[in-house]
């Protein structure tokens, strides 16, 4: 039993819904009690979807438990088929229906419907949303991707390519409904691929029909956009159709270049020509002098594994930040995140308890948080600027404008979204210059952060959430003059100066901080 306040992921059947809702011509019959239909609003409200997700729920109630819930399931499946006429039917159970063991798969197969029926076994008490999405895509691909090829025959892509001509072909795998910027990532990556002469055969699940899945084997290789979701299916396609798949996720300039090289190699194209196919403004913006203030900014990164790993690279290599924390809620990909964290001298935080994450953020004293909507709220409470990099999604994560995370345009978006919450370089410089001005008081936070955004910077909450964090050097006292001197330091670095001075004092065995101690500490730590 796990005590949970907010969850990063929904149950696995919500992952299945994300696949069904992303596709055309698929319907999902879900054995579930009344109330589980709440999941529809994720799609209609958060994503502003203009149609209901293609899901029929049995919505059984207590009175049905005494009678025949299996019959109810069969009726629902039959009615759903008659009404929606899907080209393929997914069937499964939510957490409660799993307990009553009606076997939706067996019941649906017994209906003898004239379309493929794909039963889903999604253990709700062990697994979560992303796993459910991955498993659903895998089961659909297995069921619909056609007969696998004999081991020694040439891959179908190769044969067809010989017939067709030179254009190499790939599939784009992983984008779903309710994915973090999946809609725009697909457009951006498609553009990248076309620019280097690679044709996209099938994009799945987003926008694909069951018949499209049957054509997956025709491509030369697969591009895996989101390993959490498409990894399992890509591995099966590699085993069955000998289609290799990409391992690089093109988020950030460096990763996009690496991705293009990887794709070019798989497609038999010139890798360096491929890299020259696109440009981002990020490298120059990052080198322009206004950005020097970004140097060494302490950044805490948390999200799904794909976005967290990518953010760690962009933050450090492309913006010059210092990584002070890295974590994920994707336990399935924990190993990859741990490896990246180790390279930065950190221990990865693998947690799906947002209070644990809040605790870690408070302890790391970052100047910027790159996280999910949960971390956005945590950062708001702690008065730290934040940008959202990963699901779980919020209505704000579906902007009206084109806003990919991937590719060269995605890198431009990252620069803007991560840098804007911070003080601009020139602003920071001016604040330093005008700090004696009476109008520059502590509460004069930058207007774009909203009123009172910095309230908690100096006095982190000592409430339950962080009470068990190691107590700051409470035994060290500040002499009044030192306290006054500290106030002359611009507020955006004051918390850090206080912390550094206190830890210096503790290390030196100084019980009372004087003005001298303050400047000794400054000399000790440098900027």
């Amino acid at each position: 039993m796990q005590l949970t306040v907010w969850t990063y992921e929904g149950p696995p059947h919500v992952g299945a819904m994300r696949i069904a809702a992303a596709m055309e011509g698929v319907h999902y019959v879900l054995h579930a009690p009344q109330g589980d239909t709440y999941a529809d609003l994720l799609f209609t409200m958060i994503e502003r979807r203009a149609s209901r997700p293609p899901v029929t729920y049995t919505t059984f109630q207590a009175r049905d438990l005494g009678t025949d819930t299996a019959e109810l399931f069969k009726t629902s499946a039959r009615d759903a088929y008659a009404r929606f006429e899907p080209e393929a039917l997914l069937v499964g159970a939510s957490c409660t229906a799993e307990l009553i063991q009606d076997d939706p798969g067996g019941l649906a197969l017994a209906l003898d419907l004239p379309v493929p029926v794909v039963p889903l076994e999604l253990p709700a008490y062990q697994k979560k949303e992303n796993w459910g999405a991955a498993e659903t895509l895998y089961q659909l691909v297995r069921a619909l991707a056609g007969p696998t090829i004999p081991r020694f025959a040439p891959p179908p892509g190769e044969t067809q390519r010989a017939v067709r001509g030179a254009r190499p072909r790939c599939n784009l795998l992983g984008p779903t409904s309710l994915g973090f910027r999946h809609r725009d990532d697909v457009q951006e990556v498609r553009r990248l691929l076309e620019a280097i002469g690679v044709e996209v055969a099938v994009t799945a699940p987003l926008g694909a029909r069951p018949a499209d899945l049957a054509r997956l084997g025709e491509a030369d290789f697969n591009v895996v956009l989101y390993p959490e979701i498409a990894g399992l299916a890509a591995q099966w396609l590699q085993r069955s159709f000998r289609q290799p798949y990409t391992k690089t996720v093109p988020i950030g300039v460096g990763a996009t270049r690496d991705f293009l090289r990887e794709v070019a190699t798989l497609a038999g194209l010139d890798p360096e020509a491929a890299v020259r196919a696109g440009e981002s403004r990020l490298p120059w913006y990052s080198r322009s002098v206004d950005s020097t203030y970004l140097t060494g900014k302490r950044v805490f990164v948390f999200g799904d594994a794909t976005h967290a790993i990518a953010a760690a690279r962009v933050a450090t290599e492309e913006l010059g930040f210092q990584l002070v924390g890295l974590g994920t809620y994707s336990r399935e990909q924990a190993r990859d995140v741990r490896e990246v964290a180790k390279r930065h001298g950190l221990d990865a935080l693998i947690a799906d308890d947002y209070l644990e994450v809040e605790d870690a953020i408070a302890r790391a004293h970052p100047e910027l948080v790159l996280g999910t909507q949960m971390e956005r709220h945590v950062a708001k409470r702690l008065g730290i600027p934040c940008a959202v990099i990963s699901a779980p999604v919020h209505v704000q994560d579906f902007p009206a404008r084109y806003s990919p995370q991937m590719g060269f345009e995605g890198a431009n978006v990252l620069f803007d979204t991560w840098v804007h919450p911070l003080m601009m370089g020139l602003e920071e410089h001016l604040l330093g210059m005008f700090r004696e001005d009476f109008e520059f008081h502590d509460s004069a936070a930058p207007s774009h952060l909203g009123h009172g955004a910095r309230v908690a910077v100096e006095a982190p909450r000592h409430d339950a959430a962080i009470a068990h964090a190691p107590a700051p050097a409470a035994t060290v006292a500040w002499e009044p003059e030192a306290e006054l001197e500290l106030r002359k330091i611009p507020f955006f670095v004051r918390a850090k100066a206080r912390r550094n001075t206190e830890s210096y004092a503790v290390a030196q065995g100084i019980a009372s901080i004087s003005v001298g101690t303050l400047y000794d500490a400054k000399a000790h730590f440098g900027r």
């Binding site: 005590l3 709440y38 207590a62």
Partner: protein, 433 residues
């Protein structure tokens, strides 16, 4: 099944002949597009400020509550989910020991909590986890600082607002005994503080009192109850709570529900009659607010009169709201869907609906949507899962959940209630894109 109203109409009763002028009610069965009772936690935890709601359930339950709450994390909320896992189900872990551990951890983090609700869910009901015993056991462990109660908000037993009914009903046995001989008035149903204060003032001006509210703002202020207690229901979905109060000797004052000028007046009049308030005094006290409400409604009547409204079933507020829209705003009722029709509590409402109003209890969402598309009403009141898809089909909608979260009771909010229905229509007229 404790939370299902005992007089919920079943199929056979629905076909029973009705009086020629009475609205026709029929039941429908199929997919229900409604929240479960856990959703009530979203407003109940704001109301009872020292209470904590611990759902014993699955990841789905936790996901539902945060989705219904709009994924807005303003503060650490006073609710959480103890998520059952494989080990609990397989009996590898003693679920009760696990629950005790989770509760201990929770109370350690939140020393301000005085009342803890263990809230049952679909999975906890299906595996028959005995939360009653758990609550008793935990009450002993954490006594006297924390009292532990339990109720079920499961979808197999409760629909949306029935969660509040189950919660309040679970409090009734622990209400103190009223030991005076004087009559007292209990207003039952969670209301925004500002609305409570308004009712309090009006009732006091008529000399009615003492007036108490259930749920109270703090669990340490539980209202006493006894044979001298009279109670008014502020919400139409409190069947179990009303029955539990009656079992404690309290007497229900039947009335319309306090929505709109008429409903509020009749609701107040029920108490006034009981307290033998003179008609002159009643008139003197209520007239100014009633006039304000009528004025406020008149502005929207111009926009809403003759417009056709369709209610999808959601909160059980549908029948009283349909009455306001029909009688005070001149709207035409195409269909009034409701998850349950409590004929006894709604008697005064039903008799005020136009003859032949189509009332549908229960739901088959697909067939109901067919009827919406065929009728093309001017406003469709529906849940969040249906609103955008209907808007995309060119139909104007009103989110029903807003009717639960927004103060709409009483005279001073009558205009706000009307505005909620007028706004989507006004918006559609304004937009030129």
């Amino acid at each position: 099944m404790n939370a299902v109203p005992d007089c919920a109409v079943t199929a056979d009763r629905a076909t029973a002949p009705t009086a020629p002028t009475a609205p026709t009610a029929r039941t429908e069965r199929g997919q229900r597009e409604v929240f479960c009772g856990l959703t009530g936690i979203v407003w109940l935890h704001r109301k009872i400020q020292d209470a904590f709601f611990l759902v014993v359930g699955s990841r789905t339950c936790a996901h539902l509550i945060q989705s219904a709450a709009g994924v807005m994390i303003f503060a650490e909320p006073r609710f959480a989910t103890a998520i059952l896992d494989e080990r609990d189900l397989a009996g590898l872990a003693d679920a009760n020991a696990e629950l005790d551990r989770a509760v201990a951890r929770l109370l350690e983090r939140r020393p301000d909590i005085r009342l803890l609700f263990l809230v049952g869910s679909c999975p906890s009901e299906v595996i028959k986890l005995d939360l009653a015993r758990a609550a008793t056991r935990l009450s002993v462990i954490h006594s006297p600082t924390v009292r532990v109660r339990h109720y079920s908000g499961s979808g197999i037993e409760t629909t949306f607002t029935q969660g509040e009914d189950a919660c309040l009903a679970s409090l009734v046995p622990s209400l103190p005994v009223e030991d005076t001989d004087a009559a007292s008035l209990l207003v039952v149903g969670a209301l925004p503080d500002v609305v409570e204060d308004q009712f309090d003032r009006v009732l006091a001006a008529m000399g009615i009192g003492p007036v108490r509210f259930l749920p109270p703002r703090r669990s340490t202020e539980l209202p006493p109850v006894g044979p001298n207690t009279r109670f008014l229901l502020a919400q139409p979905f409190l069947a179990d709570t009303a029955r539990a109060l009656a079992a404690r000797g309290a007497r229900h004052l039947p009335a319309t529900f306090p929505f709109g000028a008429e409903g509020t007046t009749e609701w107040l009049r029920a108490a006034a009659r009981e307290w033998r308030v003179s008609p002159e005094r009643f008139e003197a006290v209520t007239a100014p607010a009633r006039a304000r409400a009528t004025r406020a409604l008149a502005r929207y009547r111009a926009q809403l009169e003759g417009k056709r409204v369709f209610f999808m079933p959601d909160s059980q507020l549908e029948v009283p709201l349909a009455r306001v829209l029909s009688r005070e705003l001149g709207m035409e009722l195409v269909e009034v869907g409701t998850p349950f029709l409590h004929r006894q509590h709604l008697a005064a409402e039903l008799e005020r609906l136009p003859p032949g109003t189509a009332i549908v209890e229960g739901q088959d969402v697909e067939r109901q949507l067919d009827r919406v598309r065929a009728a093309r009403p001017d406003v469709t009141v529906c849940g969040l899962g249906l609103a955008n898809p209907l808007e995309a089909e060119g139909l104007t909608t009103k989110w029903s959940i807003e009717l639960v979260f927004t103060p709409i009771h009483g005279y001073e909010q009558a205009g706000d209630l009307a505005e909620l229905f007028a706004r989507p229509l006004v918006r559609r007229v304004r937009l030129a894109v």
